[in-house]
Structures are given as structure tokens and as C-alpha cells.
């Protein structure tokens, strides 16, 4: 029975080639757009997780503090809420760090007469309290301490980026929903058109004793096949785009701070599955309407 419906569905698609192609392309495009948004968010999420783990608060000290001042400061800092540990970083060590970070371009540093960097405390936060609000509060508290000239935490712009990212995520979700509805509509329309062009055939099938289920099953199969094909094509296109962009990223930025990754096989399967669900839904709505009419 299943084989008959499948064969019928494929025959229907072949005889309505243009319509099928339009439907499959719509699916491919919708899936491409939605999945590229997902890919973007997955990778952005990775980047921001990296940033979040690396939240490091630096408190730069005023000139001329002695060892006693520094140890009182350390005690006071460590008593602040959310602070796990405060480590003194003398300016010589800071310069050394900078030197290793800059790698081959250290010649600029070699020409310096004296070390321009201030002494500092590097403050590590308790993991659980690493939210941006907490970091901000801590920074204000640190700034008020005597002997602290300036506080720097991570990069302040991260926060702004995260806000933008959240906005993107919202837009992405809304767009996904819109494409979802468009896809339902398009499949529904395809099925409706085919059904109406086959009115006579459907009527004949009814007259020779076919059940509604027998008559309509091929339409469901057709929608599922079109959705699946569209999904696979959309994801294939996404993968090609990804490969193209990925090769650029790794050569241009040459950094290890971020390893781009593609959507997991399970996610890909889920996307195709969702697409098929949409196909089924669109078909179902049209069929229900047709049967009633």
C-alpha cells in the first residue's frame, strides 16, 4: 500500500514538474535562510561563551604604593562580593606578558626607556557570579577603593555586542516563524492546485470505491517528499556557503580563539524533520478544505 502511494506521489510530481520545482525551491530557500540564522547563532554563541569564560577584571594601581598598601588592598578586594582571588601583577610582569602576546613585533617595546605600564591586580571572579551585571557592580566597587586608578574588565564593548546579538536572535526567530508560515502556505497551495486540477480523477476514484484516505495519501507523500528534498538542497547550499566562508575566516584571522563549526548531524536531521512537518501541515490544511468543499 505504502509503495503504491509513494509511486503515485512520484508520478504526480513528475506530471506537475513546474509546480513541484517551485515548491521544492521555496522549501530550499526557507530552510537555507532559517538554518543559516541558526548556524550564525551557534557560532556566535561559541564566541561569546569564550568571552564570558575569559571575564577578567584588571584593577590598575596608582603610582607609589608600597607593599603594605598592596596587601591591604588585596585583602579588601578579596572581601568584595563575587571575588575569588586577587593576584598582584607587577608592571615588569605585565610588560613581559605583552611581549609574548605581541610575538614578532616586540621591537616597539625594545625601544622603550622605561616601563609605561602600571602595577595591577588581576581579579578572578567566582564562576557562578560571572554575569555582566555582577561584573559591572564589581568594577564600580573596585574603582572606589583607595589606591585604584582605573578598572578594566574584559572589553566593555562585549556587552554592547551581546545586546545586538540578542536583538538578532529575536529577529531570527521572527523571520523563522514568517518563513514557516510562508512554507505552509506554499505547500498548501501546491496541493490545492493539484487537487483541483484532478477533480475529475478524484471523483472517479470515489465512484469506484476508493476511500478518502486512499485518494489523499499520495498528496501527503508528495508534500513530505518535496519538503525533504527542499530541506536537503537548502542544507547542502548552506554547507557550501559555510565551507567558503570558513576557508576565509581561518586564513584571514589566523586565530585560535574561535573554531567555526557546522550544525551537528542531529540538528540537520531536526531541520529536515521540521521541514517535513511543515509540508505535512500545509498539505493537511488544503486537503481538509478540499474534502469539505
Amino acid at each position: 500500500m505504502l509503495k503504491r502511494h509513494l509511486r503515485r506521489a512520484l508520478q504526480d510530481m513528475r506530471s506537475n514538474r513546474m509546480l513541484s520545482l517551485v515548491t521544492i525551491s521555496t522549501f530550499a530557500l526557507s530552510i537555507l535562510i532559517v538554518s543559516s540564522a541558526m548556524l550564525f547563532f551557534v557560532n556566535m554563541g561559541d564566541i561569546m561563551d569564550g568571552w564570558r569564560q575569559g571575564i577578567r577584571v584588571m584593577a590598575y594601581l596608582q603610582e607609589g604604593l608600597n607593599a603594605t598598601d598592596r596587601s591591604t588592598l588585596k585583602v579588601r578586594m578579596e572581601s568584595l562580593y563575587g571575588v575569588q582571588q586577587a593576584d598582584f601583577v607587577p608592571k615588569a610582569q605585565a610588560l613581559e606578558r605583552l611581549r609574548t602576546q605581541m610575538g614578532r613585533q616586540t621591537s616597539i617595546l625594545d625601544n622603550l626607556d622605561s616601563n609605561p605600564l602600571p602595577d595591577a591586580f588581576e581579579i578572578q571572579m567566582i564562576a557562578a557570579s560571572q554575569s555582566w551585571d555582577k561584573v559591572e557592580q564589581l568594577a564600580t566597587a573596585l574603582e572606589k577603593l583607595e589606591g585604584v586608578s582605573e578598572v578594566e574588565y574584559g572589553q566593555r564593548w562585549i556587552k554592547r555586542i551581546i545586546n545586538i546579538f540578542n536583538l538578532f536572535q529575536l529577529t531570527g526567530t521572527v523571520m523563522g516563524a514568517l518563513f514557516f508560515m510562508a512554507a505552509v502556505f506554499i505547500v498548501g497551495n501546491t496541493v490545492r492546485l493539484v487537487l483541483y486540477s484532478r477533480r475529475e480523477e478524484v471523483e472517479i476514484m470515489r465512484l469506484v470505491g476508493a476511500t478518502e484516505q486512499f485518494i489523499l495519501a499520495p498528496f501527503y507523500f508528495q508534500s513530505l517528499i518535496q519538503a525533504a528534498l527542499g530541506g536537503i538542497i537548502g542544507l547542502a547550499a548552506l554547507f557550501m556557503m559555510y565551507m567558503l566562508i570558513q576557508s576565509r575566516i581561518t586564513t584571514d584571522m589566523a586565530t585560535a580563539f574561535f573554531q567555526p563549526r557546522f550544525l551537528s548531524p542531529l540538528t540537520l536531521l531536526g531541520i529536515v524533520g521540521c521541514g517535513m512537518l511543515v509540508g505535512w501541515l500545509g498539505c493537511h490544511l488544503s486537503v481538509k478544505q478540499y474534502v469539505k468543499a
Binding site: 480523477e201 472517479i204 476514484m205 469506484v208 470505491g209 476508493a210 486512499f214
Partner: protein, 229 residues
């Protein structure tokens, strides 16, 4: 009418009316059809022959009255069970009603596929029926590429392939030449002897003369006892 005859009635119409707005296609028809009868429904054009046949398989719904087919009350069949009624019938339509985009074989096989038969059975059965109507050599042809007589033979094949209890034929020889008509008559006889109840709507006197059977006269939607014209 005896109780025995009552028992044998396969189809019963009881004060059946069918009108389309002002047109009275059928008026007060009370009629029994018996198992394995060969029946002719005849009368002038517009008398309501086609409408009468349509009522039997619920191609039309009676405006008034009761119709029983093989124990089913047609007024009470839910939409979801109509296919059970239709499977009792093999219908040869006036306009054949073959699906133009499907081959001869597919058109005939459709009946058995819809009934959920196994592929092996379908293949054998369809081929044997196509052989009986002499269309086995044309099984891969599309209906529009067939002559009227050939299409009618395919229609007959489709009507009988499901071994129906009742065969309905609406003007089965209407537009055919004598030879094709003769073949159709022969086929209808064959399936009648095999046990089917055959109901033929026609005004082809040649056809009526060629097969012994009960004749029902319709005129302006009413049963009349005497032959008209």
C-alpha cells in the same frame, strides 16, 4: 408479493422522488430489484434513467423516499462508509469516466488497489479481465488514444474487475457500431451468468431484444407499465 421474493430483493426503492429545483427527474418510484436479475431501464431521453441509476450508488441523493441496497439504507450511510456501498457496484458510465492520464491497465487496476488487494492478485486479475474484454494487447495505452468501442471495453473491464454484486450500465451501446455493441452485449451476458445482477439503462431496442430480462419503463420520471412509443 411473497415473503420469499421480499427476502431476495437486493435493491428496494420505496416512494422515491428526485427533483432538481423545478425539474421532477423522478416521481414516486417504488421498485424492487432481485439478485441475479437482468434488468433494463428504458424510456425516452430525459425520462430519468440516469438519475435512477445514480440514486443506487449515491451519485445522487433521493429528495424523498427510501432506498435499500443489499441491506444498506442509503439515507443513513455516513460519508466515511460510502466506499463500502460503491464497492458493491461495477459501473459503466455513459461517458466512460476513464482517467485520461492513466493507462488502460492502471485504470482497471485502480479498483483493486483502492480495495487494498495484493499486487500479485491485482496483476493476475487485471490481466485476465483485460483478456476477456479483448484489451490485453492495449494495456499500456492511454484512454484518449483508444476508439470509443475500445474505451467502452475498458470501462466494462473496470466495472467487473472487482467482482461486484451489481453491474450498472448507462447506455453501454449508445455510441458504438454494431460490432462493438455486440461484444458489449456478450460481455454483459457473461457476467450475468457468472452471478452478477445487471441493470442497464438504455433506449437501444436492439440491446433489449438481444437479452432476455425484465424491462422497466420510465416516462417523465414515472414508472409506466406499458411500452411507450
Amino acid at each position: 408479493m411473497t415473503a420469499e421474493a421480499d427476502h431476495a430483493a437486493l435493491i428496494r426503492l420505496f416512494h422515491v422522488h428526485r427533483h432538481f429545483h423545478a425539474t421532477r427527474a423522478l416521481t414516486d418510484i417504488t421498485l424492487d430489484f432481485y439478485r441475479n436479475e437482468f434488468l433494463f431501464v428504458t424510456g425516452p431521453s430525459g425520462a430519468g434513467k440516469t438519475t435512477l441509476l445514480k440514486l443506487l450508488y449515491r451519485g445522487e441523493v433521493a429528495s424523498q423516499g427510501q432506498i435499500l441496497v443489499d441491506g444498506m439504507n442509503l439515507a443513513r450511510i455516513p460519508r466515511k462508509k460510502i466506499h463500502l456501498l460503491r464497492r458493491k457496484f461495477g459501473i459503466i458510465f455513459q461517458d466512460y469516466k476513464l482517467i485520461p492520464t492513466r493507462t488502460v491497465y492502471e485504470n482497471v487496476a485502480l479498483v483493486l488497489e483502492a480495495a487494498g488487494r495484493k499486487s500479485d492478485y491485482i496483476r493476475k486479475k487485471v490481466q485476465s479481465v483485460l483478456r476477456i474484454v479483448g484489451m490485453d494487447k492495449r494495456q499500456d495505452t492511454l484512454p484518449p488514444n483508444l476508439s470509443g468501442g475500445e474505451q467502452q471495453r475498458v470501462a466494462v473491464a473496470r466495472a467487473v474487475v472487482g467482482d461486484p454484486t451489481i453491474i450498472l450500465a448507462d447506455e453501454p451501446t449508445g455510441s458504438l457500431d454494431a460490432e462493438s455493441a455486440g461484444l458489449i452485449i456478450k460481455l454483459l451476458k457473461t457476467f450475468h451468468t457468472r452471478g452478477a445482477t445487471v441493470i442497464v439503462a438504455t433506449h437501444d431496442r436492439e440491446l433489449i431484444r438481444s437479452i432476455p430480462g425484465r424491462i422497466i419503463y420510465l416516462q417523465e420520471g414515472r414508472l409506466t407499465s406499458a411500452p411507450t412509443v
